[in-house]
Symmetry: C2
Subunit: 414 residues, 2 copies
């Protein structure tokens, strides 16, 4: 039996116990894991140093090394994240709807765990702890598959989580790490129908596309964000500048950062030059359409492919448009349905943009950077869904649950 098969079956068995675990047991388990993470800090950092050393030998980029690196602060954040989960209400068991039919049948729609979650992710070892915590809180087992570059860190973290679970009534098999981080293990996970209920990929577009293409297990697609800000004719110049700079420079490497700026021609005539200078000063490269470059000569030319790119970097594509309609058509054509914003003082333009633009989150006069579980008040987040089925936008605890119908009768037949 393969490693993946064995672990997914163990997770499936553990998930049955977890599904009926009371909230206190799950919270105690999360606290135990948090405590052990702090106690075992040194051994975790040691394993992480080893990953980093191997990575540097293999010539990984400084950006990747940064994502891979654990520090005392980052470990403390992970432990605190688990403790915060204990303070959130347990979604499992909630009666979502209740009806009594004319024949006397009482029907209750009850929230239940999904079962077994498969996580396939890259680099950041904090996902290991975050995902395990969210899964346990929601009564799900989890099968983790991180990247080879973080293997030692992930293995140590999962060892600690499982050791902690062994101190509680919850089954340690609820958290599994797939051992051989090769592509064959991923392939096997993607076809574990009946043993894994949902696959959540987190990482670059390549990983996510591969998972969507290959998986026969249902997938929660996350994250690719080619986000736009449209600065309308009537936009307040100071506000527009602030939102664009924040959207691009606050954290360029994340999915809710803005990648293309669309500007109404009239606004561009008066304010594009000043905004361009501010962006350059903030270290942003501007790739502009011809009409952008007419108004701001320090922009480099944009190519057609620029409209499709998620730069995840200090680069911004800029296009001047003639109307709200043209802006919305551009977004419809190139957007990834993640986060889209309009800056305008015109209420009717805002209303149309919010209604007609098809995206997980649509903004009026605010930065796209707010598309985030904690900013939305969910308390925790496992990713941002860009699909329409099951979950859309930031996914919190409820998005890791399903439902079942409980029907109570007294002998009814049809």
């Amino acid at each position: 039996m393969s490693d993946v098969r064995r672990k997914t079956e163990a997770a499936r068995t553990a998930s049955k116990r977890l599904a009926t675990a009371p909230a206190e047991e799950k919270n105690t388990a999360l606290e135990t894991i948090a405590r052990t993470l702090r106690e075992e800090q040194d051994s975790i950092l040691e394993c992480n140093s080893e990953d980093l050393r191997k990575g540097e030998e293999a010539g990984i980029s400084p950006a990747l090394a940064d994502r891979l690196k654990l520090t005392e602060t980052r470990l403390e954040e992970m432990a605190r994240g688990l403790e915060e989960l204990t303070r959130l209400p347990d979604p499992v068991g909630e009666v979502m709807e209740r009806t009594e039919r004319e024949n006397g049948l009482r029907i209750e729609k009850v929230r239940v765990p999904l079962g077994v979650i498969g996580m396939i992710y890259e680099a950041r070892p904090n996902v290991t702890v975050d995902a395990a915590g969210l899964a346990l809180k929601t009564g799900n087992a989890v099968v983790l598959r991180g990247s080879s570059s973080a293997y030692r860190s992930n293995a140590r973290l999962v060892e600690i989580i499982r050791k902690s679970l062994a101190l509680t009534p919850l089954p340690r098999d609820a958290v599994q790490l797939v051992e051989d981080p090769d592509r064959e293990a991923v392939r096997e996970m993607l076809h574990s129908n009946g043993r894994i209920d949902v696959i959540i990929p987190r990482g670059g577009a390549g990983l996510i596309q591969r998972v969507v293409r290959e998986s026969t297990v249902p997938v929660l697609e996350t994250g690719v964000g080619n986000c736009h800000i449209y600065v309308d004719r009537s936009a307040d110049p100071e506000m527009a500048g602030r939102i664009v700079l924040n959207g691009k420079t606050d954290r360029p490497a994340v999915c809710n950062a803005v990648e293309t700026l669309l500007i109404h021609r009239e606004w561009a005539d008066h304010h594009l030059h000043e905004l361009g200078e501010a962006l350059l000063t903030a270290g942003v490269e501007i790739r502009g359409c011809p009409r952008t470059r007419d108004r701001f000569s320090r922009a480099v030319p944009a190519h057609d492919t620029d409209w499709e790119k998620e730069y995840l970097d200090r680069i911004l594509a800029v296009r001047v448009v003639d109307s709200l309609n043209e802006a919305m058509e551009h977004i419809d054509r190139y957007g990834t349905r993640h986060s889209e914003a309009i800056v305008t003082e015109d209420a009717e333009a805002a209303r149309r943009f919010l209604q007609e633009v098809d995206a997980a989150a649509v903004y009026h006069n605010a930065s796209t950077r707010f598309t985030d579980g904690s900013q939305f008040g969910f308390g925790a987040e496992i990713g941002i869904s860009t699909q329409k089925l099951h979950a859309r936008g930031p996914m919190g605890l409820k998005e890791l649950t399903s439902c079942k119908y409980r029907v109570l009768g007294s002998g009814q037949v049809r």
Copy 2:
């Protein structure tokens, strides 16, 4: 450009108009279609006769011919179904959640259509009208692919629907029928990511498994039901008999019919013989485990494969078990997570069964036949989901929607 490509693109374009269509426009369209169906009754029945004649030439089974056949009554039911949809509330635009954050951002979670639904189904031409009606009501476009045996009937029905739409402000391209009903068209639909948002297969296990295996578009898996009734030690004999007979014989060919009966040994000692006779009288073949046959010699032997079968016929597998746990283990191993029932007077046994059995619908002292949108009070149903993601159990109007977050700011940045 292929037929599927052209039609999915036309549907995608139409879906944008539909997404913002007011409830009255959608209801008027449904009424117009219902009226035209009645007016065009003769031409529809003529096309259907042609399908039936070709089918008989090709030697289709009487059961398939019955599913394929349209009558005045069935057409009238289809028209009434559309009219009933107009009386249900429009789910689109509903504000599901609303919060105001400390920074003043107002966040609204709003219900929106899914976009474009792909339906792949077999035989029954009423699905053509039902699916188009449900899609239009929920602001979705739909791409239909029925079976070749019903092609003329489906083509005529879709022609009438599109002709009716042309009399309303809604785009006729909202309803599309894939012309060439070959397997290549299905393959293309299953890979129409970006043009189809969800695929719903309706039909036999073979069709559904093919769709789940091949589709890169998210799938709502429907229907396969290997349903069980467990008659517990303390079950009321009269009630148990009534529920078992109803579950098996009311409509054996549907997914919520019971396929395997599990009986506690002690109940079997006293009542199995009588129940067996009643089932035989009702024309049911009983395939029993050795302990069943010890108690009821007219049962034929069950083979291991019988526990996995969805007979969809007047055949019932029967197994005697020693305990509730053994019954639940059997269901966990062989069930398809559709509908599972316990008959018992023991409240604790009922509580455990309802909590621990993993299925879309779990019943205490009622027939599995109730798993159905209209029985649950949903007013309409597009199928019964046996997956855990997005929708579980009978899927009504809400299950054909997604959501988006509308974020209203006054210049907020992070």
